[in-house]
Amino acid sequence: MRALIVDDERLARAELRRLLEPHPEIHIAGEARNGEEALRLARELAPDLLFLDIQMPGMNGFDLLEQLEDVPQTIFTTAYDEYALKAFEVNALDYLMKPIVPARLEAALAKLRPLRGSARLDQVFVRDGDRCWIVRLPDIFLLESEGNYTRVHFRDQRPLIRRSLNALETQLDPTLFFRAGRKQIVNLKWIEKVDLGPSGGLVVTLRGGRAVEMSRRQSAQLREILSL
């Protein structure tokens, strides 16, 4: 598993490197000293794992995640837990407090999910004002286009993400996400019920009650997929 360490302190990076020595399964692909450098390296190296300090000069840890198209599994490293709650809401894999206790690092690494086989998007980072989340794609039941932004529906949240629906679609797993029309993409796993709509297209009802009407052309395709 390839990891990128992001921390503005050289000693902190060196220290984490030493702490990772007993874990040969983690290969350190690179180190970044600040958000900008991390953004460049993350795009270049496409790491599977991010060790991310939150407080950094310029672009901080959250800013970085927001800029990333493809958010790797993330372990936050922070000196003081004022950000801990926030990090939990973002659904980070874990957060570690510096100085890092080796056993805590081990526990965090144990939570790592196995590598995904394809280049498909695994999770997205969403920020809405002060709150942020790392949302795993299976949790998203609906994506709605709003101009150049996309509204992400998961749990009882529906924040906006700064990417167009079309751009997102190219990275989604087509066996899981289905384009319902010009403005919507639904998660097939979340479909509870399919009805015939008044205009002849299908109307799918998602778990939680949200109904989405399909265009005629998409209805035919959905019939095929669901083999109705």
Binding site: L11, R33, A79
Partner: protein, 344 residues
């Protein structure tokens, strides 16, 4: 004036005035008889003695802590009882001098009249004593509250060591232990000095600038290890300014602020320059750093600086000055002016 001196003075004035007026009035009616003069002189002394006994009892039994109708009735009753004793002594003195031909023999009711009059004099004494004591206690309580509040405020404003810094520092030192044990040792001692200084402070006390500057130097040395080559430091302290008393953690707060909101925000880092000069009657402290302040965009740095402002206000009233401004397009300076005082 001492509290007890004030009390005895008031006692003497009060009973003195009462006795002298009483003496003159009585003498006017019955003439300057020796028994009258001696009676009033004695009355003056034993009245003071009796009411002082009453004062001791009030204090001992804490009757004024919570004034209720029962307390008032009790106090008035004691006043009446003391008045009876005083009347008995007046009549007694009269009897010693005049024997059976005493003034009270013809009309015993005048003794009751005397007793009734003195009862109200004692009542007045009790009222005045209670009012004065309660007002004094109230003031003391307010003063205590005020100073406790000021202490608490100052303590809050002086702030504790920044936990973010603390843990980052420990983390860096942990890293140094492997890389550069000598430097790690040095950092641990500096860290200890800083912690000790932070823990040993008394709210509101001042320290010589030299002591504060030493701690700031330790703090910056620790930060330099964290920031690597991103932080450069310059000290420029006038030796004449060194003994001048400053509030502890004042310079430290300014330096922390400069790092947190100035150099800490710059990926390339910058320089911090600490200057102190002794002007006539004034100490001028300034912390300059690379960076810029932009008014509304930065509410957060205002917090630390508002603390500085508030502390200066609490300690010096309006006699201290503070400002934060851009010196040129790449430097910010925070400047504090405080009245120069050197601890004897």
């Amino acid at each position: 004036m001492k509290l007890s001196t004030k009390y005895w003075l008031l006692q003497a004035l009060g009973w003195g005035a009462y006795s002298i007026v009483g003496l003159f009035l009585t003498a006017h009616f019955v003439g300057w008889r020796s028994d009258v003069v001696i009676g009033y002189i004695l009355f003056f002394f034993y009245s003071i003695a009796f009411t002082d006994f009453l004062r001791r009892e009030i204090k001992r039994r804490r009757w004024l802590d919570d004034i209720s109708f029962a307390t008032i009735a009790k106090l008035f009753g004691i006043g009446a009882a003391l008045a009876a004793l005083q009347t008995f002594l007046i009549v007694g003195v009269n009897f010693l001098f005049l024997g059976r031909a005493t003034d009270y023999a013809a009309e015993p009711i005048t003794a009751v009249e005397t007793w009734w009059g003195i009862t109200w004099v004692n009542g007045t004494w009790i009222g005045l004593y209670s009012a004065i004591t309660r007002r004094r206690r109230q003031r003391e309580k307010e003063a205590r509250l005020e100073s406790a509040l000021r202490d608490a405020e100052l303590r809050a404003l002086e702030g504790q060591i920044n936990p973010h810094f603390l843990f980052n520092c420990l983390n860096s030192i942990r890293g140094l232990v492997v890389e550069d044990p000598k430097l790690a040792q040095d950092m641990i001692t500096r860290f200890a000095t800083l912690l000790r200084y932070n823990l040993n402070r008394d709210a509101g006390h001042t320290v010589p600038l030299s002591a504060e500057a030493e701690v700031v130097a330790d703090y910056l040395a620790l930060e330099q290890v964290r920031f690597d080559e991103r932080l450069r430091v310059r000290f420029d302290i006038d030796p004449k300014a060194e003994p001048i008393q400053v509030p502890p953690m004042l310079l430290q707060t300014l330096v922390e602020n400069a790092l947190k909101h100035g150099i800490g925000k710059l990926p390339a880092g910058g320089e911090i320059r600490i200057r102190a000069s002794a002007e006539p009657d004034m100490l001028v402290l300034s912390v300059e750093n690379t960076g810029q302040v932009n008014g509304a965009a930065s509410a957060d740095p205002q917090l630390g600086l508002n603390n500085v402002r508030e502390r200066l206000r609490l300690i010096y009233g309006g006699r201290a000055g503070f400002e934060l401004r851009n010196c040129d397009n790449n430097r910010v300076a925070a400047t504090v002016q405080i009245p120069a005082a050197v601890m004897a």
